[in-house]
Each structure stands twice: as C-alpha cells, then as structure tokens.
C-alpha cells in the first residue's frame, strides 16, 4: 500500500521523504520476525504525521528506519532523493547530523554538560556549525529556557529536559524531526507544553515531523495520523 501524505495537503509539492515498500524483519531463534511489511509513505516539507499503535507494533522501528539508525530488510527510504543506506558509516553519520533531528522518550541529555552545551552537541560534529550558539540560544528562548542555559540537566524538571532535547533536535535545521514518545515520561501539564512546542517549532522550522506516540492527545495535535497495525500503516481519518 502506498500512502502519499501530500495528496491530503495540496500546499506541499516536493516530496522530501519517500518510504517505498519497506519491510523489516529481525532474526530470532524461531526464524525471522517481521515487524513491518511493505510500508510506503511520502512526506513533503512541512508535513506532520503521528503514528499510533499498540506496543510492539513496529512504530519505533519505522521511526528508526526513517532516521537511518537501522536499515530496512527490503524497500528503500530516501530523503531529498538520497538513500542514506547507500552511504558509508561516516557519510551516514553526517547525513543524520544534517537531515534528522531526534526527540526520544528519554531525553538523553549529557549530565556533565550545561543546557546550552547539550543543545550544541550535534553542532560539534557538524560541518556547518556557524552561528550555532546564537541559534541554540534562540531555540532555548523559543522553548522557554532562556534563563536556564547554564544549568545542568540535573537541575531541570522532566518537561524542561525534554524541551532541551527538542531544541537539540532542531539545532542543525534538520529536514526531519522524529519524535519517539516525546511525552511518554511526562506529566500531563509538561506533556501539553512539550506537545505545543513540538507543533509550533515544527511549523516555524518547516521540518517534516513524525511523532510516534501512544498519546491520543498528542496525536490529535498533528494533522495526519496513522495507525500501525498488522505491520501496515493505516490512515486515520
């Protein structure tokens, strides 16, 4: 099944992300375990989709495939026409750095670095790190942490930490913003704040946003919603 998100959004003309007939299997002692089966999806700049589904349905796997963290068993994924899995390890790392921003359920901040430094972490290995500090400060201002730039992660609340990770995800102006249960560890209020920021910043930065979540509230904030069942994406209308 081929889903093209853009046909629901006539504004978008250029397909940036193309997932073409992608399947993913994991080897197990009892034979290969298929998690995704012939999934296809195309997203244009500025698109935002949420993917919901039961635990173990393969939501995060799909996100990791899109994020070039692991290769599909079959099918292709291209970003701006580039298949990242054709790149060598070094080029692949650079590709992720340049094209993709991640927000995970666990904020994964470096405890020994300040808030600002955490946001800057991706720029340290970026080939284009000019004005990174200014941009980091702007992003932190946008996520409401202007006064906390020199704080350590240990001094922040869970919601604040996730906001830092959101700023970090956007620091390299990625094409894709991939979020894996970004509000999964947060209380309701913090989840609301993060969800709002996610949507707002996505719109401001014009990235493609893919949110994998169990949260119907978060999913509802995104215009296009999929349900991953039986190894397939099903559009929720």
């Amino acid at each position: 099944m081929v889903l093209t998100a853009s046909k629901y959004d006539p504004v978008s003309e250029v397909i940036v992300l193309k997932i073409d007939n992608v399947s993913k299997e994991y080897p197990t002692p009892r034979g290969p375990l298929r998690v995704l089966s012939n999934v296809s999806l195309s997203l244009n700049k500025g698109d935002a989709v949420s993917i919901m589904g039961p635990s173990g349905s393969g939501k995060s796997t799909l996100l990791y495939l899109v994020g070039a963290l692991e290769p599909p068993t079959s099918g292709t994924i291209t970003v701006d026409g580039q298949n990242p899995f054709e790149l060598n390890e070094k080029q692949l790392a650079a590709f992720r750095n340049r094209q993709i921003g991640f927000v995970f359920q666990d904020h994964c901040l470096l405890p020994q670095c300040s808030v600002l430094e955490n946001v800057l972490t991706p720029t340290l290995v970026s080939t284009n790190g000019a004005d990174a500090t200014a941009r980091a400060k702007t992003l932190l201002e946008q996520v409401g942490l202007k006064d906390r730039v020199d704080h350590r992660p240990a001094a922040l609340s869970g919601g604040e930490r996730q906001r830092v990770s959101l700023a970090r995800a956007l620091i390299t102006r990625p094409q894709l913003l991939l979020c894996d249960e970004p509000t999964g560890n947060l209380d309701h209020q913090s989840a609301e704040v993060v969800a709002s920021l996610l949507v707002d910043l996505h719109q401001q930065q014009e990235t493609i946003l893919i949110v994998v979540t169990h949260s119907a509230e978060l999913a509802a904030r995104v215009p296009i919603r999929y349900h991953l069942v039986d190894q397939q994406l099903q559009l929720i209308k």
């Binding site: 963290l69 992720r96 993709i100 666990d106 430094e117 991706p122 290995v125 500090t133």
Partner: protein, 1123 residues
C-alpha cells in the same frame, strides 16, 4: 525456585561479567600467594643449602688453637656419646686460605682449606676416598673460579698456626704463612661433600680438601686438629645438644688440648710442679683455676714472669741479652734474704752478673728491653732499679727452668746461634756471655718483684710465664695436680667451643630478609590493581543488573536477602577466582624465583634458589584474596542502599555533585598546599631532615593536587563547548571526566600515587661511578681497601714496618710512595650486609686504630651523640662506657635496618665462646662501605677478643688516586705472602649498591606491572562510564556522531586522566627527590623509568581504544527505544 537456583542461574547468565571478576580475584590471589611462595622458596632453598653443605654434621667443636686428633676418639668412646644419639665424629683442620692456579696465576682468596682423611666421608656415610699425599680435591665453585681441572697444580696458602701470640715479643711476625703445592685430583661434587661448609652462605662454596696428614705436617701440628665434626644418628632418637657435648668434652679433654703443660721441676731440696702454656703466657683465667686447684690440694704457689732484657746496664757496663725473672713478693724476699726498702724498685742480681757489672748493693741497675706495642711497633724501653742483693747461683737463682721455651732462643747451643723474631745485635755478645750460656743456659741473671715485672711486661695475653706449686706437707704428683686442674678447668672458657651448626644454620636460613614480605611490598600495586579490577568488574555486573535489583525490591525482597544473593554470587565467584589464583600463584612464584636466579641475581647472589610450593602459603594467599574480594563485593553492595527503588527500576544511578564536598576539598587542598610547601622550605633550609622533609612535602602536595583536581572536576562550568570539528569533540571527551568525578579522581590518584612512588623510589637508586673520594662520603675518601688473609702486625706506615713488609721504596716515583694505611683488627663473623641472605648471628667485627677515629671520616645518618664533641665526631662514641657493660659499636644504617633489623640504641648480643657480649648500636653510618661488619674501638676489641691478632683489613689513602691501579698491583705483589687483596672502595660500595638497585628494580618492575594493570582498571572505569551513558551515546550516534568521534572522545577522556595522573605523580615525585636530583645535576639513574611511564601511557591508550571498540560493537540504539 530456591535461592541457590537463582544464584546458580545468575552466575551462568552473567558469565562474562563473572569471568572478569574471577580473573580479577585470580590475579590478586596469584600475586598474594605467589609472593608468599617466594618467601617460602627462599627460606626452604637456604635451608636445603645448609643441609646439603653440612652433610650429616650437626655439631662442631672448634678451637682457637690445635688439639689432639685423639680427642675425637676419646669423645666417641664416651658412653654418653651413643646414649645422646650421636653417631660419628671426625677430626678436621679448617683454615682460611688463598689458592693460586699455578699455570694461569689466577688467585682465589678467602678459600676454605680443609685437612681431611677418610673419616670425613665415612662420618657422612660416604665411601668416597680421601685425598692422599699432595693430591687435593677442590669444590666445583673453586674449580670454576680458577679455571682449574684435574691434574692442574695449585698453590695453597694458609696461616701457619702458632700458639705464641702474634702480637707478643716472641712470635715470628714475618713467617706467618705456609704455602704448599698440590695437584687437583678431583673436582668434588656437592653429593660428595664438595660444598661442605659449616658457615651458612648462599654463595657457592670455594673449598680445597687437603690430606689431613699433609696439612698437619706442613703446619707442624702432628696428630692435631682444630675442628671436630659430630654427626647425629640417622634416626630421630638424638637427644644431643650443646650442653651434653660440652659435658662429654669436659670429661674427655686433656690439658694438652688447651695448651697447658705440667711438669715436675727439681728445685734445691724439693720437687715442684711447674705449669706453663704453649702461648708462653699465663692469663688470669688459667692462673685463677690453677690457684683454686692448688688450694684444694693444699699446695703453695708462686708465679714467675720471665723476660728477655736486651741489656742489663750499670754505669758504663752492660750485659747483653739476659733473661730476667719477676718472682712474687715472698719469693723475692727469700731470694734477697732481707726486707726491702728503697725508693726505686728493687732488683737482685746473681753474682755472675754483679761481678760482670762491678756493682754492689745500692747501685742503680737499668734494664733495657723490647716491648711489642699493639700499634705494631717494637719499642725499646728502659727501667731503673736499685740493686738490693747479689745472690749466689744456687736454688732459685740457678733455676734454668724458670724460663719457658722460646723458639730461636732456648734451644740454641750458642748465644750467637740465636734466631729470635726480633732484632738482636750478636756483635755485642762477648765470650763470657757465651760461656755463661754454655754453663747456665736460660738461668736468669736478674730478679725483680712480680708486680714490677707485670707493670713492665704484661699484655692482654697474660701476666706470668709459669706457675709453680709445691707442698710443705705430703707431696702431690704432677698427675694428681693435672687431674685436679683438668676437673677445675672448663675447656669452653679456654676457647674450645661447641657449636650446634645445624640448628644455627637452620635458624639462620630463616633469612635476614623476608622475601615473602618484600615481594608483598613489591607486588603491592599489582594486588591493589587486581582488587580494583575485581571491584570494578563486580560493580559493573551489579549495575548491569540494576533493574533486576529494583524489581526484587519492588516485589518484596528485603535488602538483606538481596545482599545475601549477590554476596553469595560474589563469594562463589571469589572462590572460583582463588582456585584459579592458586595455580597462578605457582606460576607467579616460579616466575619470581626465575627472576631471582636471573634478572635479579645481584640481589641474592646465588642461582641455587628453587621454587618450593607450600600449601600453607597457597591457603593463606587464597584466603586473603577471597577476603579482600568479598570485602570489595560487600562494599559495592553497600553502595546500592542509597538508591531508590524507582531509580533502580529505571536503571538510573544518578550522579550527585554536592557543593559541600567541593568546598571541603578546596579548603583541604589549600591547607595541604601550605603544609607541603612549608615542609619543602624547611627541608631546603635544613631546618628538618631532608629526606623526610622532601618526601613528606612531595606527598602532601600530591594530596593537595588531587584535592584541587577534585574541585576542578566538580566545578560549575561557565564556558560552553561551541564550534565544530575535532577540538570540540575532544573537549567533550575531556568534559566526560567530570561525569563521575569520584571515579576520575580515583583513577588519577591510583596512577599518580603509583608513579610518585615508582619515580621517588628511583632516587634511592645508586648510579655506578658516582662514588666520590669525599671524606664524608661512603668511601670515607679512601680510594682503596684491602683484606689480608694473614694478620699483619707490623705498621706499614712506619719506616721499620715498611722495611719489614718489603714496602719501602726510596724511589719517589714508586707507586707506594706516600701511601697511607688505616688498619683494622678483624674478628671474622657473619656478613651483616645485604649480600648475605642468611640471618647474621655473630656478625663480623672490625676495630680501627685510634687515628682513624680522630680523622672523623664517613658520614653518619644518626648517632647517640649527646655532646658537641660527639656530635662533631660520632666515632668518639666508640669510646663511650656504659654502666651496664654494653660495648658501643657503629654499623651501617642499611645493614642495621634491613639485615640486623635493629635501630640506633638497640642492644645486639653476640656469642664469644661461652660468653655473651652485649653490643650497643651508638651510630649508624650513611651508605658506607662498612655494610658487612660492625665497628668497635680497638681497646674494647683487644679486651674482648684477645685471640684475634694483628690487622686484616685496611683502608688506603693515596697521594694520587689516579694511580690506584699501580698501587694495587704493587701492594698485591709485595704483600702476596699475606694474601693481600686490594680493591677500589668504589667497587665494594658498588657491590652493595648493585643489590639495593636490584631490589629497587624489582619493586619498580612489579610496581610498573601493577601500574599497567591499573591502567586496565582505568579503562574498565572508562568502559563503565560509557556503558552508563549508552543512551546519551546512542543519541549522539543518532544525531551524527561517527566511530571516529567516539574514539576521539573516549581516548581524550582516558588520556586526560592518564596524563593528569602521570604528571601529578611525576611532578610531586620530582619535588620529593629534588635534593637527589640536584646532586645528580638533574640526571636520572634509570632510563627504563621513562620507558615505564611511556609504557603506561601507551597501554592506557590501547586499553581505551579497546573500550571504544567494545562500545561501538554494543547495540547502542536499543537504549533509545521507548518500547
């Protein structure tokens, strides 16, 4: 499921982590038990050497003189001999000698020369034949040293025994050695007693076995021996001990065995018993014993002291070479025939002498005589008397038996035939003197009171030449008197000593140095590193299972049960590790023993050390390893208590960065800096001891630096990691050191401390060729030293002495011109230096002449000086007198600490015959050439050891030290009859230094191994840090970090810790040893130290790359999954 099943399954499931812990424990046990095995092995090897070298000998009876060979059979014939479980006895002549290989001219000195016959092998249950005629056997080590083989000719030189004290007028001082030519008939294997030695020593035995009969003949001691070997029965039924053998000896010895002669002498109208001694002198001990015997037998007694007067002068008349006898007061009064009252000491002349001198009662008579000075010179003295009587030549005045037999004098037919060991001018002998000699032989021409004679002539060897006993009632036979005297005398007091050589040897084999202890010290860092690794790996295992612990807590496992489960696992793993470690210990022990036989042979001086595996050491080592490991495990588990169950369930071990700890570290760091700097300043200004000051200062500054580093690691960071490229990534890696500051500080502290100790210890290393001729150095400023096989009594500094010793050379260009000797008396004994592995029980003692004491050479490390004079010249302490009779001695500080295990002010009791002598350490020399011996004042020495005669050790001053080789050659040539062996003092000192350096190398090598193992621990910490941060790292990977970035980050983190540790340790060590560095002009003795430090850096890098590789292989992305 039972708890045990849970433990079992956990052990199997986490086998990789457990295997790492097992290896850590195994390493610790290997090193601990291995070190103990080294101690056991050295002790057992030394013990084996003693047993092998003694053969079956358990006791020896030795004497300063010679006794009848028959005494051996007499002892064996005693019923008590068998009752005590003794089996055999064998006479021997044992002397120290020099052997020269005739063809190659190679000389070996300090050789054991044994005169043996077939009884020697028979008593050792061997059928080996004895050397006959001029055939000799040599030990393998002597054969090797000389390069000799069967059929070669050798010259054996020994001291010719003489009962007459060398330092007395009548001894032959130039003819003290005896050389015999012999042929090597066999190189005697160790199994055939070729390494026989009663002196425990680890070095090879250099011995030559000569036919007993030949040696007796050459030494003019027919049928005599100076040593008896006694063996015990092979069964364990022996009850013999020193006392029981002394008891047999007391029953079986004869007066001849202790040099006493009893004869009957006919006086005018009576027969008297005369007692004389082979030494021609009767000491106070014998005189008292004889006096007691006389009292028991109700005998009268008289003492006589005969002496040779060079001249009896009156006015311008003179009688040459006359014997004068001092008689006790009663006898003198009887001889004079009246009461005596004169201002001058009285003298009685016989009528021949009075007539010859033309003197009458009341005239002044002057005696001119030689007196041998202890300083090695013959001086002519005079004494003036008042003639109180002239007596006819009858009775006592005609008694030619008053004078003992003097070689070269009493046996001469004519006076002109005299060949005494002192200069005589036979031109002075007149015909009437010859006539007197022909008619009256040794009949004294003059008599003086005994007190006068003793004042003039007594020495440390005695104060009479003969004693006489007679009865006014029933006569007593000489046999009766001899029997009673023998019963009164204790041969042990007369120098016949019984020594339990086997017991003493086995006791000494416990060693001066506990190698087990030393190797524990040497292996300290290895053990610490192994335990650190054990703790780290166990901790890694625990943290790997942090969620499991959380779940256990959540489902109701109490903390005690959880601890028990994990402790149970820890104990099982520790036991498994210790079992593996026991095998490792045998390997480690074998490796160390191999090292002692090869790389570190300079420290032990023998290749005879073998590995002996002791179950006790293995058990102790394993138990210690298990205990240490379990403590580490328990400590790790204890650390889990502070974490909340929720955190554990989330797999989180949050770090805390308390501000209070930072402030406290800062304050402590400042305080430590102040104290450290103060100590350095005080040491630099000599306000406190330099070693303690600089080492203390360096150590405190090391602590201060570690505290500051702790503050730095915990500080809030103001700047940020901006930019991109390698440098910011490197900085991020460096920043990771702050992730767990305590761990980072632990790494730095471990490396810094190890480096500090290893580098600082190197300052104790002695560089070859740095020995100076400074009078306050370890050489005392003497370029040469010499040992003499034969005692030298002549003073080589005096003109006469030089002439007698063939050292006089009027050619100003002669190498011997202006050469000065400082002489030392020597009482042979155990080597008290680090060259001797056996425990010295009776150390060698030497005594310098008084001019040496005044010269105040050598540097003292410490002394008991309590006045300015003694502080200025601590040698003066040797003259101090203690109320409790302790004798002051000075020792080298190193020997005192490491071999004698004593300290300044301690008493050290030595055995001198049957007597104990309490020595008190009054001074400790700093790194001197006197490491093998104790130094005593000459006055105390001659009082305590009157039998140790002459000088046998010399320090030599040269006007031109650059000519030392020529002086050495000249001295060894001209004094070859004395077995004079000259050696540069620097060489002697270097021999000691080589041992110390070898110990230091061992410490540094094993410390370096520990340091290397520590760097692996460092990498384990790094790995653990990285694993803990795997989510962050996974995210970094997700945002574009590649393998090179990770490698750079991890290596940067590790290198920073390594470098900070290395630099901190080296910097503080350099501060601590700066005085040594300054004296070495900045040079470092050991270039391998630099290699070690580079090795640590390289191994640390390698380990961190390995850690990176491990991380990159780990499925990091799993950590990111929300599901």
């Amino acid at each position: 499921m039972q708890t045990s099943s849970l433990i079992k399954q956990s052990l199997l499931y986490y086998w990789r982590t457990n295997l790492a812990v097992v290896l850590g424990v195994a390493t610790a046990v290997s090193v601990l038990a291995g070190a103990l095995l080294v101690g056991d092995s050295v002790r057992t090897s030394l013990r084996d050497l003693v047993v092998q070298r003694l053969g079956r000998t358990s006791f020896v009876i030795s004497s300063s003189g010679f006794f009848r060979e028959q005494l051996t059979d007499d002892i064996q014939a005693d019923p008590q001999f068998v009752q005590d479980g003794l089996s055999s006895v064998c006479p021997l002549i044992s002397l120290e000698g020099t052997v020269t290989h005739e063809r190659s001219k190679r000389v070996a000195s300090k050789i054991n020369v044994y005169g043996v016959d077939e009884r020697f092998w028979r008593s050792n249950q061997s059928t080996h034949s004895a050397p006959d005629s001029r055939n000799v056997f040599v030990s393998p080590d002597l054969a090797h040293e000389l390069g000799s083989s069967v059929g070669d000719s050798i010259l054996v030189q020994v001291q010719k025994p003489s009962a007459i004290p060398l330092e007395s007028l009548h001894s032959k001082k130039e003819d003290v050695g005896k050389t015999l030519r012999a042929t090597v008939a066999e190189v005697l294997s160790a199994e055939s007693l070729g390494q026989f030695s009663i002196q425990p020593q680890q070095a090879g035995v250099r011995a030559v076995f000569v036919s007993l009969k030949l040696l007796q003949r050459e030494l003019e001691q027919p049928d005599k021996a100076n040593l008896i070997l006694i063996s015990e029965a092979p069964t364990n039924s022996s009850s013999a001990n020193t006392k029981s053998i002394e008891e047999i000896l007391r029953k079986r010895f004869t007066l001849a065995d202790v040099g006493i002669t009893i004869r009957s002498v006919q006086e005018d109208n009576r027969t008297v018993i005369a007692l004389e001694h082979d030494s021609k002198m009767i000491d106070e001990l014998l005189r008292r014993a004889a006096g007691d015997t006389a009292k028991k037998l109700e005998l009268q007694q008289g003492a006589f002291f005969s002496y040779l007067a060079n001249s009896i002068n009156a006015g311008n008349r003179s009688i040459p070479y006359s014997l004068v006898t001092a008689v006790d007061d009663n006898q003198f009064k009887l001889l004079a025939g009246k009461d005596i009252s004169s201002s001058l000491p009285p003298i009685v002349l016989n009528d021949w002498a009075a007539s010859d001198l033309g003197v009458h009662e009341g005239d002044q008579i002057t005696l001119e005589y030689y007196l041998w000075q202890d300083t090695g010179q013959l001086e002519t003295k005079t004494a003036t008397f008042s003639l109180v009587s002239v007596v006819p030549m009858r009775g006592l005045a005609a008694d030619r038996n008053l004078v003992p037999e003097y070689p070269g004098i009493t046996g001469s037919e004519n006076l002109s035939d005299w060949d005494p060991p002192f200069p005589v001018d036979l031109q002075r002998v007149r015909q009437k003197d010859e006539d007197y000699w022909h008619a009256f032989k040794t009949t004294p021409k003059a008599f003086i009171p005994l007190t006068s004679g003793q004042t003039l002539w007594q020495s440390r060897f005695g104060n009479a030449t003969s004693l006489r006993f007679w009865s006014d009632r029933a006569p007593v036979s000489t046999e009766q008197f001899a029997q009673r005297l023998r019963e009164t005398l204790d041969p042990t007091l007369l120098g016949v000593i019984t020594t339990p050589v086997r017991t003493e040897g086995l006791q000494a084999s416990r060693g001066a140095t506990d190698f087990g202890e030393y190797f524990l010290y040497f292996s300290f860092f290895l053990v610490v590193s192994a335990l650190l690794l054990t703790t780290l790996f166990f901790k890694l295992g625990i943290e790997q299972r942090i969620r499991e612990i959380g779940i256990m807590r959540a489902v109701g496992y109490g903390p005690g049960l959880i601890r028990t489960l994990f402790l149970g696992e820890g104990i099982i793993v520790a036991i498994a590790g210790s079992i593996l470690g026991v095998l490792g210990a045998i390997g480690y022990g074998a490796l160390m023993m191999f090292g002692l036989r090869t790389w570190w042979v300079d420290a032990v001086g023998t290749t005879a050390l073998k590995l002996h595996v002791s179950a006790q050491s293995l058990i102790v080592g394993a138990a210690a390893g298990i205990t240490a490991a379990v403590i580490c495990v328990a400590f790790t588990l204890r650390g889990l208590r502070k974490f909340a169950t929720r955190g554990l369930l989330a797999g989180q071990l949050e770090s805390d960065l308390p501000r209070t700890r930072r402030s406290r570290s800062l304050i402590l760091g400042i305080v430590a800096t102040v104290i450290g700097t103060l100590l350095l300043v005080l040491a630099a200004t000599h306000a406190i001891g330099q070693v303690a000051g600089f080492f203390g200062g360096g150590t405190v500054l090391l602590i201060a630096l570690l505290l500051f580093q702790s503050v730095w690691l915990r500080r809030e960071r103001g700047g940020s990691l901006g930019g991109n490229g390698w440098w910011p990534v490197t900085r991020l890696g460096i920043r990771n050191t702050t992730y767990r500051p305590a761990r980072s500080i632990l790494c730095i502290a471990l490396i810094a401390s190890a480096v500090f100790i290893i580098v600082a210890v190197d300052s104790f290393r002695h560089r070859a060729g740095t020995e100076t001729l400074d009078r306050k150095s370890g050489t005392g400023g003497y370029p040469l030293l010499a040992d003499s096989l034969l005692p030298m009594v002549k003073d080589p500094n005096s003109r006469e002495g030089q002439e007698d010793l063939n050292l006089r050379d009027d050619n100003p260009e002669s190498p011997l011109t202006a050469v000065k000797f400082t002489r030392f008396r020597v009482k042979p004994g155990d080597d008290a230096s680090c060259l001797n592995l056996y425990q010295p029980r009776n150390p060698k003692i030497i005594a310098p002449t008084s001019d040496f004491i005044q010269s105040n050479r050598f540097a003292f490390q410490s002394s008991l000086a309590n006045n300015s004079q003694e502080a200025e010249n601590p040698w003066l302490l040797l003259n101090r007198e203690f109320a409790d009779g302790a004798v002051p001695v000075i020792a080298d500080a190193n020997s005192l600490t490491y071999v004698l295990h004593s300290k300044l002010g301690d008493d050290f009791v030595i055995q001198n015959g049957d007597r104990e002598i309490k020595l008190r350490i009054v001074g400790a020399l700093a790194d001197s050439l006197f490491q093998s011996e104790l130094l005593m004042s000459e006055a105390n020495f001659t009082r305590l050891f009157p039998d140790a005669q002459g000088y046998r050790f010399f320090l030599i001053d040269l006007p031109h030290p650059d000519r030392s080789a020529a002086v050495t050659a000249a001295l060894e040539d001209r004094l070859s009859d004395y077995g004079f062996d000259v050696q540069p003092t620097a060489e002697r000192l270097a021999n000691f230094h080589r041992v110390e350096n070898t110990y230091l190398s061992t410490f540094q090598m094993l410390g370096g191994l520990g340091l290397l193992l520590g760097t692996i621990g460092l990498s384990a910490i790094l790995l653990r840090n990285v694993l803990e941060r795997r989510r962050e790292l996974a995210l970094m990977r997700a945002v574009g970090y590649n393998s090179q970035h990770f490698t750079l980050m991890i290596v940067a983190e590790n290198v920073v810790l390594l470098l900070v540790g290395l630099v901190t340790g080296v910097f503080c060590a350099f501060l601590a040893i700066s005085p040594v560095l300054l004296t070495r002009h900045g040079g470092f003795a050991n270039p391998s130290l630099g290699l070690l430090l580079v090795g640590v850096l390289v191994s640390g890098l390698a380990a961190s790359i390995l850690a990176t590789w491990t991380i990159l292989r780990a499925p990091l992305l799993e950590a990111l999954r929300a599901e």
